[in-house]
Amino acid sequence: MSIKLSSNSPAYKVLTLLSSLKLTVICLSISMILVFLNTLAQVNLGIYEAQNRYFATWFVWAEIGDGGLKLPYIPGGYLVGGILILNLLCAHWKRFSFKWNKLGLMQIHLGILVLLGGGFVTHWLSNEGQLTFDEGQTVQFYESFQERELAISEPLPEGMVRETVFPVELLKAGAKLQGEHLPFTMEILDFYKNTRMTLRRAMGNNADSLVTRGWGKRINVESIKQTFKPKEQNLLSAFVQPIWDGKPIGTWLATNAITDPQWFEVEGRKFALSLRNTRYYLPFELTLLDFKHDYYAGTDVPMNYSSDVRLINEELNEHREYLIYMNHPLRYQGKTFYQQKFANDGATSLLQVVENPGWLIPYISCVLVSIGLFWHFTVHLLKHVNKRRSG
C-alpha cells in the first residue's frame, strides 16, 4: 500500500481499468454467456468435451466451413476467470479501506477469489477414474474415463508384471517409441482417433491390410470422425510394428475396442500389447467381498446399492474392511472411492475414484462467502428497516 502512482502514469491507468466495476460486469456477463453456450453444447459434445472447449481454454473457437479455419469468438474460461481474479485483486488493492460495514463485502470477494483459485487448482491437479471389479476379484488400479494408452506388458517371475506405457498423444504416424526395458523400438505406422470396424470375409479382401499378426488381420478398419456424445465411445486404432535388430517383427492392430492382449516374443521374452484406458496404480489392494442391491418393492427403481470391500496395504501392514454405499465413500490416502453403479445384475461393481488435493478449498470459500453475504445483507436490511420505522 506504500506504492504511490501518479494519476497520469500508464500503470495507474491500467490499474484503474483493471479495478473498474465495469470490467467486473463485463466479465460476469461473458461468464453467463459462456455458461449458457456450454450448457447447450453439452447436448452434442458431452460434458467433458464441452468443458474443454468453453472453460479449459483461453478462447472459444468457431470452425468456419469445412476448411478447418478456426476463429475465436468469445473469451474462454481461463481468460475470463483470470481477468476476474485480477479485477478483484486490483479493486481491493485500490479501494482498500477497512470499515466494519464493509467487512461482509470484503469477505464475500475474498471467498470468491478462493473459489476461483480453487477451481484452477482442481482443474490442474485433480484426477478421476473408475475402478471395476467382480465379486471376489482383487484390483490394484483404476482407469481413466477419458485418457487412453498403449501398453506393453512383460510378465516377470513371481507373478510380477513390468509395463511400459505410451499415452495416445505420442501415437502419431511415423513415431518411433522406445522404452528403457524394451529390447525393441515400437514404430507407429498409422493412428486413428475413431474408427469403424468390420469383420473381413474369411477369404480374399485381405490384400490391402497392413496387419500381419494377431486378431487384427481379420478386421477391416475405417477412419471416422471423433464422437463426443456421452453414450458413444471413440474406437481408437493404431497400427504398430515392433522393430528389433533393424527388422520389423510384424504389424499388429491395437485398439481399445478389443481388450484381449496380443502376445509376441523378442529375445525369448514375452510381451503383451494392448490399447486401453489409462491405468493409475494404487499402492494398496482392494477386494470386492460382496455387492448388494435392493429395489423399492414392486418397482425397478433402485433403493440402494453397496460394495463390501477389503483394503490391504502391505507396506503399512494395514488390513481393513469397509462398506461403500451411496453418499458413504471410502476415503484413503487422498483418494476417495464412491459407489457409482453396477453391472451384470450385481456381479460387477463400479467405483468412481477421485483424487483432488484441492477438495477443501470450495468449502472454505463457501463459508467465507455465505457468512459475508449474510452479514452484508443483514446489516443493510436492518438499516433499511430502521430507516422506514423512524421515517
Partner: protein
C-alpha cells in the same frame, strides 16, 4: 375559525376511527366466514358412515382409506384411484350421466364389478387419427370405453409398439397419443385384474376354486415333484391354474394383501401371488377373505355391509400394519382436502381484492388489511399442505419437479407476506398471490403423470446436504421470480395505468433491490450446498452439469444486477427490466435444463411444457421491451407530472 377547524379535525379523526372500526369488523367477518368455510369443507371429509342410509358414495369413501402398496409405497386406494383416473380420464372426478363420481367410486367399480366398468367411457382420446384407429365414425366422440377399444386392441398395440421404439423426443403427436392410450389401457387392465379373476367368475368363486385347487391337484403336483405316482389329470389342473395366477400376477402392480412375513420386500403381495404362495398351507391371510366379501357386498349393493367389511379390513390391518394405516388415512385426508386447489383459488381472490383496493383511495386501508389477512391464511394453508406431504412421504419437501413448484410458490408467498407486513401497500400481497397462483398452476400441470409422491432413485435418496441444497436453491428461485413479478407489476402498471404513484414506484424499487439481494444469497448458498453434496456423493464439487450451470446463471445474473446498481450503470428502470429477465433465467434453470436430457439432474423430463416455456419467455421479452420505453411516455409518470404541475 379555530374552533370549527378543531371540530373539523375531530370529526375527520372520528370518521377515520369509525371507518377503521368498520373495516376491522368487515375484515374479521370475512375471516370468520373463511374459517367457517374451511370448517365446513373439513366436515365434508369425514364420510357419514353411521347415517341412517348408507349410499354407494359413502361406502366407497370408507373404502378409500384402505392402504395398498403400489410403486414401492403405501398409499390409500383413494390415491391409486385419483392418480389412475388422472392418467386415463385426465380429470380427478368422473362425470357419468350428469352424475359426478369421485375417483374412488370409479375405482370401486373397476375392482369389484369389472364387466360394468368395461362399458364406461373413460379413455380420453383427442387425436383424430387415433379415433379413426379405434374404428369410430363419430369423430366428435372424446371418451371411449374399454369394450370399445377392445375391438381394435391388436391394431392399437401394434401401432403403440412401433411408436415406443422411437425416442420420446422423436415421436409425433399421433405416436405420442397412441403410446399414451396403450399405456392407459394396460393401466386399466392392471387395476381391473388386481382383484377380478378373468372370465365371468367372481372373486368368491375363485376362492372356492382355490380351496379345491390346493387340495388334490396340489397333492398331485407335490407327488410329481417327489417323483411319486400321481393323478395326471389333477396335475394338469394344477399347472393350468398356476399359470393363470402367474399371468395375472404379472399383469397387476397393486399389492393389497399384507402377508404373514413382515420383513423384507415381500411384506405386501398381490392377490394372485398370495394364492400361489399360500397354496401349500391353504391358509389365506384374512385380508383376502375381506376383499372377497367386499366384492360380494359391492355386487349385491349392500352398502351398509360393505362399510362394515371395510372397517373390519382396516381393523385387521391395524393390528399388523398400523404404520400403513396411519399413512393411508392421512393421505386420504390430504387428498380430500384438495388443499392446494383451495389455496390457488384463494390466491386469485387475494389478487382481485388488491386490484379493487387500488381503484379507490378509501378502499385501500380496509381491503389492504383484508388482503394481508388472506395472504396469511393462504400461507398457513400452503404450509400445511407441504408439511402433510413431508409427513406422508417421510421425505424432504422436494422430491420431483411437481413438489419443486409447490415450494417455489411457497417461498414467494412468504416473501410477499413479509413485504406486505413491512410496506402495507398491497404490492406484496398482489405479487405473492400472482406467483403463488402461477406456481400452483404449474404444479397442477406437472401432476398429470400420476402419482406426485413417487420414490426417488438411490442417488437422490435422502441426505442432509441434498435436502438443504434443494430447499435453499428453490427458495432462491422463489426470490428471483418474486423480484421478477414485482418488476412486471412496475412496468405493467406504470406504462398502462395511473396506478404507479411516486410512492409505489419508490416502494417497488426498494423491494426489488432487497429481494434480489435475498435471491443472490439463497441461490449462492443453495448452489454451494449442492456442490458440497456432489463432493460427498461423487467426489466433485462442480461438474458443469446443466442444472448446476443453471443455478450458476441465476447467481451470476443477480450479481450482475447488483453490481450494475452499485456502479450506477442502471437506475430503477434498468433494474426492473433486468429483474424481468431474471424470470427467464430462472425458468431456464428450473425447467429448460431438464429438457436437454443430459446430466445427472434431468430427473423430470417433460415434453408438453416446452410450448409454455417458449410462451413464457416471449411474454417476458415483451414486458422487457415495454420496459425500455422512456418513462416520460408511461401513463403513470405522465399523470404524476400533470399532478406536480397542478400542485
Amino acid at each position: 375559525m379555530i374552533l370549527s377547524n378543531t371540530n373539523g379535525f375531530e370529526s375527520t379523526e372520528r370518521a377515520r376511527k369509525l371507518r377503521l372500526r368498520e373495516c376491522r369488523d368487515a375484515a374479521s367477518a370475512c375471516i370468520k366466514a373463511l374459517w367457517l368455510l374451511i370448517a365446513v369443507s373439513c366436515l365434508e371429509f369425514t364420510p357419514a358412515l353411521h347415517a341412517e342410509e348408507v349410499s354407494r358414495e359413502d361406502a366407497l369413501k370408507a373404502f378409500a382409506a384402505v392402504p395398498v402398496l403400489e410403486h414401492g409405497r403405501y398409499k390409500p386406494w383413494d390415491s391409486v384411484a385419483r392418480n389412475s383416473l388422472l392418467m386415463i380420464y385426465e380429470k380427478q372426478k368422473f362425470r357419468y350421466n350428469g352424475e359426478k363420481w369421485e375417483a374412488v367410486e370409479w375405482l370401486g367399480e373397476v375392482l369389484f364389478d369389472g364387466s360394468k366398468s368395461d362399458q364406461r367411457q373413460i379413455f380420453r382420446v383427442m387425436h383424430p387419427d387415433v379415433r379413426m384407429l379405434l374404428g369410430n365414425e363419430d369423430e366428435t366422440q372424446k371418451y371411449y370405453s374399454f369394450n370399445e377399444i377392445l375391438k381394435n386392441l391388436p391394431k392399437l398395440a401394434e401401432q403403440a409398439d412401433q411408436a415406443a421404439k422411437l425416442d420420446v423426443q422423436l415421436r409425433d403427436p399421433y405416436q405420442k397419443a397412441v403410446v399414451r392410450l396403450s399405456r392407459n389401457v394396460t393401466l386399466y387392465q392392471n387395476l381391473k385384474h388386481t382383484l377380478d379373476p378373468p372370465g365371468s367368475g367372481t372373486l368368491r368363486n375363485e376362492l372356492n376354486h382355490f380351496a379345491e385347487w390346493s387340495g388334490e391337484p396340489l397333492a398331485a403336483f407335490q407327488a410329481h415333484q417327489g417323483g411319486q405316482e400321481h393323478d395326471v389329470e389333477a396335475l394338469q389342473q394344477f399347472l393350468r391354474t398356476a399359470s393363470v395366477y402367474k399371468r395375472l400376477s404379472e399383469l397387476t402392480h397393486c399389492r393389497p394383501i399384507p402377508t404373514n412375513d413382515t420383513t423384507g420386500t415381500e411384506d405386501w403381495m398381490g392377490l394372485w401371488d398370495t394364492l400361489v404362495k399360500e397354496a401349500h398351507s391353504g391358509e389365506l391371510p384374512l385380508a383376502v377373505e375381506y376383499y372377497a366379501e367386499l366384492s360380494d357386498r359391492y355386487q349385491q349393493g349392500e352398502w351398509q355391509a360393505f362399510v362394515e367389511t371395510c372397517e373390519k379390513l382396516i381393523a385387521e390391518l391395524q393390528t399388523h400394519r398400523a404404520e400403513a394405516i396411519s399413512t393411508a388415512s392421512l393421505e386420504t385426508m390430504f387428498n380430500r382436502s384438495e388443499v392446494f386447489y383451495r389455496t390457488a383459488v384463494l390466491y386469485v381472490v387475494i389478487f382481485l381484492i388488491v386490484m379493487v383496493s387500488w381503484l379507490k383511495l378509501s378502499w385501500q386501508v380496509p381491503l389492504g388489511r383484508l388482503a394481508l389477512w388472506l395472504v396469511t391464511i393462504a400461507v398457513v394453508l400452503h404450509t400445511a399442505g407441504l408439511i402433510l406431504r413431508v409427513v406422508i412421504q417421510d421425505r424432504p419437501p422436494v422430491t420431483n419437479l411437481y413438489s419443486s413448484a409447490l415450494l417455489v410458490g411457497w417461498g414467494a408467498v412468504v416473501l410477499g407476506l413479509v413485504m406486505e407486513r413491512l410496506y402495507k401497500n398491497g404490492i406484496g400481497a398482489a405479487a405473492a398471490s400472482m406467483v403463488g397462483f402461477k406456481s400452483l398452476l404449474v404444479a397442477h400441470n406437472l401432476a398429470g403423470d400420476g402419482d406426485t409422491m413417487t420414490m426417488m432413485q438411490a442417488v437422490l435418496d435422502s441426505n442432509f446436504w441434498l435436502a438443504t441444497h434443494v430447499i435453499v436453491i428453490i427458495l432462491g428461485y422463489s426470490a428471483t421470480f418474486f423480484a421478477g413479478f414485482l418488476a412486471i407489476m412496475y412496468i405493467f402498471f406504470g406504462f398502462f395505468t395511473k396506478l404507479l404513484t411516486a410512492e409505489r414506484a419508490k416502494a417497488l424499487d426498494g423491494m426489488v433491490y432487497g429481494i434480489i439481494c435475498f435471491a443472490l444469497l439463497f441461490s449462492f448458498v443453495g448452489t454451494v450446498l449442492g456442490g458440497i453434496w456432489a463432493d460427498q456423493s461423487w467426489g466433485r464439487f462442480w461438474g458443469w452439469d446443466p442444472k448446476e450451470n443453471g443455478a450458476l446463471l441465476i447467481v451470476l445474473w443477480n450479481a450482475i444486477i447488483l453490481h450494475c446498481r452499485w456502479g450506477k450503470f442502471m437506475g430503477t428502470q434498468g433494474t426492473m427490466i433486468a429483474a424481468v429477465f431474471g424470470n427467464i433465467v430462472t425458468v431456464w434453470s428450473w425447467f429448460g435444463t431438464n429438457m436437454l436430457g443430459v446430466g445427472l439432474h434431468s430427473y423430470g423430463f417433460m415434453e408438453k411444457a416446452f410450448f409454455w416455456l417458449m410462451a413464457f419467455g416471449f411474454f417476458m421479452l415483451m414486458i422487457m421491451a415495454i420496459g425500455t420505453i422512456p418513462t416520460r411516455l408511461w401513463d403513470s409518470f405522465i399523470t404524476q407530472k400533470k399532478l406536480a404541475k397542478k400542485g
